[in-house]
């Protein structure tokens, strides 16, 4: 089972995980990753916006989930990614992988996050007291992707 979607509005990751888990009784393990907008003392970031390009973004996420399912033995995959404007504490992304064996679930979730964070079709900007500013791609992203190069 593969559930992949973009969320234009805030979502409740725990409710999503509950629903995902309820039908997965054949799974020995479920690994999840929840990414949220950081909220730190003195952090100047007031808001975050994620833009996407509909013809590519969701199809790309779906294809990524399919790649994970091809590479690891998964029973089910969940990917939910916010778009639009978020404030600190808001969920940005939720990934969950259910598998009979936990190693498969861990690796697939890790793989999905590395790719979502670096190669998915999203453009991000942050709002501080000085206004909105686009975020440049990070060098770390290439290192993250290189971990998964098929040998």
């Amino acid at each position: 089972m593969r559930r992949v979607r973009l969320a234009p509005e805030p979502f409740d990751p725990h409710e999503e995980l509950r629903r995902f888990g309820e039908t997965r009784t054949t799974a020995g393990g479920i690994v999840s990753f929840l990414g949220q907008v950081r909220q730190e003392e003195g952090d100047p970031v007031e808001a975050l916006e994620l833009r996407h390009y509909p013809p590519l973004t969701l199809p790309g996420m779906d294809e990524l989930a399919l790649r994970a399912e091809t590479r690891w033995r998964l029973i089910a995959t969940l990917v939910i990614h916010r778009v639009g404007i978020m404030v600190p504490g808001d969920p940005i992304v939720l990934v969950a992988c259910a598998a009979r064996h936990r190693r498969d679930a861990f690796e697939a979730a890790d793989f999905l996050m590395d790719h979502l964070k670096s190669s998915a079709w999203f453009w991000k900007r942050e709002k501080t007291a000085e206004g909105w500013r686009w975020i440049e791609p990070r060098g770390q992203d290439h290192a993250d992707l290189a971990r998964w190069a098929e040998s």
Binding site: I92, K117, I135, P137
Partner: protein, 81 residues
Amino acid sequence: MTLTLLFLGPLEDVAGVPEMSLDVAGAATLPDIAERLDPALAVAITAPRVRIALNGQLVAPADVRAGNGDELAFLPPVSGG
């Protein structure tokens, strides 16, 4: 005969708008389009790392032929989710 241009991410700031309509006579190439734009924007959209989608499908810059009713999206490097 109208072509729609979309500017994603930081390209929107260069263009000043997220979307722009361009009257074209026929099937325009990327250089045809670039020369109709503000020079700074023309440089930005033809940068090597900018990908291009024609009606939602990625195309090589040299293969761009866009005419009436087409949508051409300019996709700068993604920042990730």
